[in-house]
């Protein structure tokens, strides 16, 4: 089920909220959430839901064994087995086709290429279970003894299919005890409205531009290539951060406090900072669980770094462009590490901004083109070696036709709301005014978004495919 559909917003969600409100006590409320989460997932994956349930059983059991044999051989064995299972499932369902294709290409053989559809959200819930198992092994969290509670952690529908990757430690206590205040619910509703607006009013509209120009890269001008890739970058940001907003908002309505997944990534001044602000739950996952894997000996620091970026690329998709994309960022982070923080800071801010945006949007180009030939065309075109010149009338028409959309999108990349909030929080009167305004604005956004959904092409959230 997709958040940005009328069916979800006005049928599934109200029914879920009603049942949740009617449930008494935390156990009943959790039961309601599990049931609705299972329906939510089964709506899109009526068969693969059993795979998810199997994953839940395997990891829950492994957690119990880890708890029982803490620090002993059984602990390590259960950890290794559970992580291996998780990675194997991800490998089979996400990468088997890609691996077979490349073996065939490399060794000129003809291994049958499995045609397996990617189960929705497998990349996200697999990482949740891996983090749970490793945290249990590291004794950062106590293994969850109740399967029902574990199932709630894994299946909680706000974050189930497209993140953020919520760790068990984040909601461990709230699974068993949580309070919801009026301000939580109002904040949650407003956040949902904001997320939907980002998705429908910005991301889907920017998608039309990016598809027009990048989808037609062979006929594009240099300006068109940059225009398209900038629109695409913003589209991904609003799409994915919009989903995260909805997830965080829904979580808050039900009393869960998920960590932020985005923090205005485009205001970054270097690539390292960009990844501290972009898809934070994924970056921190790799930082915590992959970066320091001791497999590179003395070169651990840089070996781990490139392993992280390789994993980041592969995680996004079974395609070479994603691998290139991950390593591409790895190279820039490596260079920035070599330069050092102090020296980086000495570089004029404007230069750092230009450098980081240039790298980021080229990165989005790599991310977009799964076909390496087209990626080459994109590079040629963007750097002035294309056949169609620098700018053409169609570029100008599109720019003018979409000028307000683009201006608003750029403005929304900046932390305007947080700045207003920070200032208004200092005085009660301004805080009250801003809260009231936010309520009205959120209501308006929800109405406008809903109206747009009547006439929309259904674009599933981009990160559904990962």
């Amino acid at each position: 089920m997709v958040f940005s559909r009328l069916f979800f917003i006005y049928i599934f969600l109200p029914l879920c909220l009603l049942c949740y409100a009617a449930a008494r006590g935390i156990k009943q409320k959790n039961t309601v959430l599990i049931l609705f989460s299972l329906v939510f997932y089964a709506w899109g994956e009526p068969v693969y839901i059993f795979l998810m349930l199997l994953t839940a059983v395997v990891n829950y059991t492994a957690g119990l064994i880890i708890g029982k044999y803490q620090g002993k051989g059984g602990d390590t064995a259960a950890t290794a087995a559970a992580v291996a299972y998780d990675l194997l499932m991800l490998g089979i369902f996400k990468y088997s086709g890609f691996i077979a294709e490349n073996i065939n290409a490399l060794f000129s053989c003809s291994i049958p290429v499995p045609d397996i559809r990617l189960p929705i959200g497998i990349s996200f819930y697999t990482f949740q279970t891996i983090s749970y198992i490793i945290d249990c092994h590291w004794e950062k969290v106590k293994p969850q003894k109740s399967f029902k509670n574990f199932l709630l952690f894994l299946t909680l529908f706000p974050q189930l299919v497209a993140g953020p990757i919520v760790r068990y430690s984040t909601i461990e206590k709230e699974i068993e005890s949580r309070t919801v205040e009026l301000r939580d619910i109002s904040y949650g509703f407003n956040r949902i409205a904001l997320g939907l607006a980002k998705k429908v009013l910005l991301a889907d509209q920017l998608n039309i531009i990016s598809e027009s120009f990048l989808g037609n890269i062979g006929g594009s001008t240099a300006f068109g290539a940059w225009y398209g890739v900038i629109a695409y970058g913003m589209r991904i940001y609003f799409d994915f951060s919009g989903y995260s907003d909805i997830a965080i908002g829904l979580g808050r309505v039900f009393g869960f406090h998920f960590d932020e997944n985005f923090n205005h990534p485009f205001i970054c001044k270097d690539i390292t900072e960009f990844w501290q602000r972009w898809h934070i739950s994924l970056s921190t996952f790799f930082r915590d669980y992959v970066l320091y894997i001791p497999i590179f000996g003395k070169r651990r620091k840089y070996g781990g770094l490139f392993l992280v970026w390789l994993c980041t690329g592969i995680w996004h998709g079974a395609s070479w462009n994603f691998i290139i994309w991950g390593l591409y960022y790895g190279v820039f982070v490596f260079i920035e590490m070599k330069i050092g923080k102090k020296k980086m800071k000495k570089i004029p801010v404007i230069i750092r901004h230009i450098y980081s945006k240039f790298v980021i949007f080229i990165g989005f180009g790599i991310f977009y083109f799964e076909d390496i030939g087209k990626l080459g065309t994109f590079f040629k075109t963007a750097f002035g070696f294309g056949k169609n010149g620098f700018i053409a009338v169609q570029d100008r028409i599109s720019l003018i036709n979409n000028m307000y959309l683009l201006i608003i999108a750029v403005i929304c990349c900046f932390p305007i709301i947080s700045t207003i909030k920070k200032v208004s929080d200092k005085r009660f009167a301004s805080k009250a005014v801003i809260s009231s305004t936010a309520a009205v604005a959120a209501a308006l956004l929800l109405v406008i978004t809903s109206i747009m959904l009547v006439d929309s092409t259904t674009h599933p959230f981009l990160y559904y495919r990962f």
Binding site: V2, P14, I248, K374, I400, I417, S435, V454, D455
Partner: protein, 500 residues
């Protein structure tokens, strides 16, 4: 909001610290005073006042939060009533399609996800009064994206990127669709559009379902699908038609490739957005061997100031078909009825397919007249399926009256059929027309010119074309399709129909 509220855990901590502060003011003052004297004591008054003030503020903020919840709750409740309970629409006249129906349950449909997806599609697609909501969007929301390029009448909107691009392979025959994905209903009349995609390079990337695949320029209140050039495909078209001539020997074979509005209505400043159809027509003519070329371009160009093309639809108007048919009749040496011998029917308020593709307020707010012509002489019309089986008596033109928003398809009907028209013209000339949807409008115009006319769509034809032509004893074979079909993917159908 969003990441603006940095970290939710920070909020949590803040709330906690507020609680701690509350607790901090809770202890009694150090100096012990009898309760009865407290009201008169100055020491704890500021503490009380501060606490009261804080409570008042908290209450105020909670009241705002409550109002916020009520407001949003009302929207959710209203939305539930609107989406789930109000009567559902069944038909979208502006999109010329039936809306999604509630899916039938079966184990198979459930397991492959179609059943649940169908339910969501049903509720999304059939909301009450959707036509007015769409109009509201076109009128009030879409224009907020930007403004027209240029001023006044020449102000332009571009849908798609509008590049001239050399295609390297065939294009998809799917019509461009901008409506809700997965909800296209199988209404024949809505599925037969022949706007191909030669402007964009669809061969490079299969367009995702539901996305704009054509490049459409809207200027001077007119939508124009931008022609992207044949780039060698015109030679292939000519060779395919030549194959027919070779196989048919003495029969007359004609090629009439029809220009689109791209040739006539693009203002000078935007002329480089489209390639020249005329150049490609000339190349086709030069490559034909024994096939008689029919020059529709010049006669249409001579009448371009008349309403020969629809402004809101990618098709021509029947008047354009009349002039093209006149040229063909001249080349074929058959009689041709003057327009005065037809009954003129005008359907006002027509907003056609280009609005459907673009949702442009400019087109929506500038409807046009759809004018068509009914032959006064009686004809016998029989429709067959694409195997030339199952004959059914039919009318030459459909009655658009039941459709509030009638137009090209409503008058000329769908393409997935073979139509046989027997006329009162007893000249022994039997014509087979291989066409796309443009060709439909030619049929009424030729009812005074041939004794029998067989109208076959190249895309929906399940017989060997030569066998069919022989079986109906055709004397003349006309290929009549717009440029997009002749040099787009549809051209391969011409060849394929020889080998069925």
């Amino acid at each position: 909001m969003n990441e603006d509220n940095k970290s939710t855990s920070k909020d949590k901590e803040k709330n906690k610290s507020e609680d701690v502060n509350d607790k901090a003011v809770r202890p009694e003052p150090v100096i012990s005073i009898e309760a009865s004297d407290r009201e008169n004591t100055a020491i704890d008054i500021p503490i009380k006042a501060k606490k009261l003030k804080k409570q008042r503020r908290k209450t105020a903020l909670n009241s705002i939060a409550l109002a916020n919840i009520i407001l949003m709750g009302a929207i959710f409740a209203g939305g539930f009533v609107y989406v789930a309970l109000l009567p559902h629409e069944t038909k979208a006249d502006d999109e010329n399609r039936m809306l999604t129906t509630f899916p039938d349950f079966s184990a198979k449909s459930y397991l492959n996800g179609k059943y649940t997806a169908g339910i969501a599609d049903y509720f999304d697609d059939t909301v009450h009064d959707r036509a007015h909501i769409k109009e509201f969007i076109a009128d009030n929301i879409t224009p907020l994206k930007g403004r027209k390029y240029g001023d006044g009448e020449d102000g332009a909107e571009l849908y798609g990127s509008g590049f001239i691009q050399k295609p390297a392979a065939v294009v998809t025959t799917s019509p461009p669709v901008t409506t809700t994905a997965g909800v296209q209903s199988p209404v024949p009349t809505a599925e037969t559009t022949a706007v191909p995609e030669t402007t964009a390079p669809p061969q490079e990337e299969e367009p995702a379902q539901g996305e704009l695949t054509n490049n459409i320029l809207i200027v001077n209140k007119r939508g124009v699908t931008l022609y992207g050039g044949a780039w060698g495909a015109e030679q292939e078209y000519a060779s395919f038609v030549n194959e027919y001539k070779e196989a048919l020997g003495g029969k007359n074979v004609y090629s009439m490739v029809l220009p689109t509005s791209s040739s006539f209505y693009i203002p000078e400043q935007y002329s480089n957005l489209a390639y020249s159809e005329k150049d490609d027509f000339d190349k086709i003519e030069a490559s034909l061997k024994g096939v008689i070329p029919v020059d529709a371009y010049n006669i249409l160009n001579a009448h371009k100031n008349e309403p020969i093309y629809s402004r809101t639809d990618h098709h021509w108007q029947p008047l354009g078909a009349y002039y093209a048919a006149q040229e063909f009749a001249l080349m074929a040496g058959v009689p041709f009825a003057d327009l005065s011998e037809y009954e003129t029917v005008t359907l006002p308020g027509y907003v056609g397919t280009l609005y459907m593709y673009t949702q442009s307020a400019t087109l929506l707010n500038n409807p046009e007249d759809f004018v068509y012509y009914k032959p006064k002489t009686p004809v016998t019309v029989t429709q067959y399926d694409t195997h030339f089986q199952n004959p059914v008596a039919a009318n030459l033109l459909l009655d658009p009256a039941p459709m509030p928003n009638s137009g090209y398809y409503m008058v000329f009907g769908s393409d997935e059929r073979i139509v046989h028209v027997n006329t009162e013209c007893k000249n022994g000339r039997n014509l087979v027309i291989f066409k796309d949807s443009y060709g439909n409008a030619l049929l009424p115009m030729l009812t005074s010119s041939f004794e029998n006319i067989y109208l076959c769509d190249i895309r929906y034809f399940d017989l060997n074309a030569i066998d069919f032509i022989d079986s109906v004893e055709a004397t003349d074979v006309l290929f009549a399709m717009c440029s997009f079909s002749a040099v787009g993917a549809n051209r391969s159908c011409i060849h394929n129909n020889l080998n069925k």
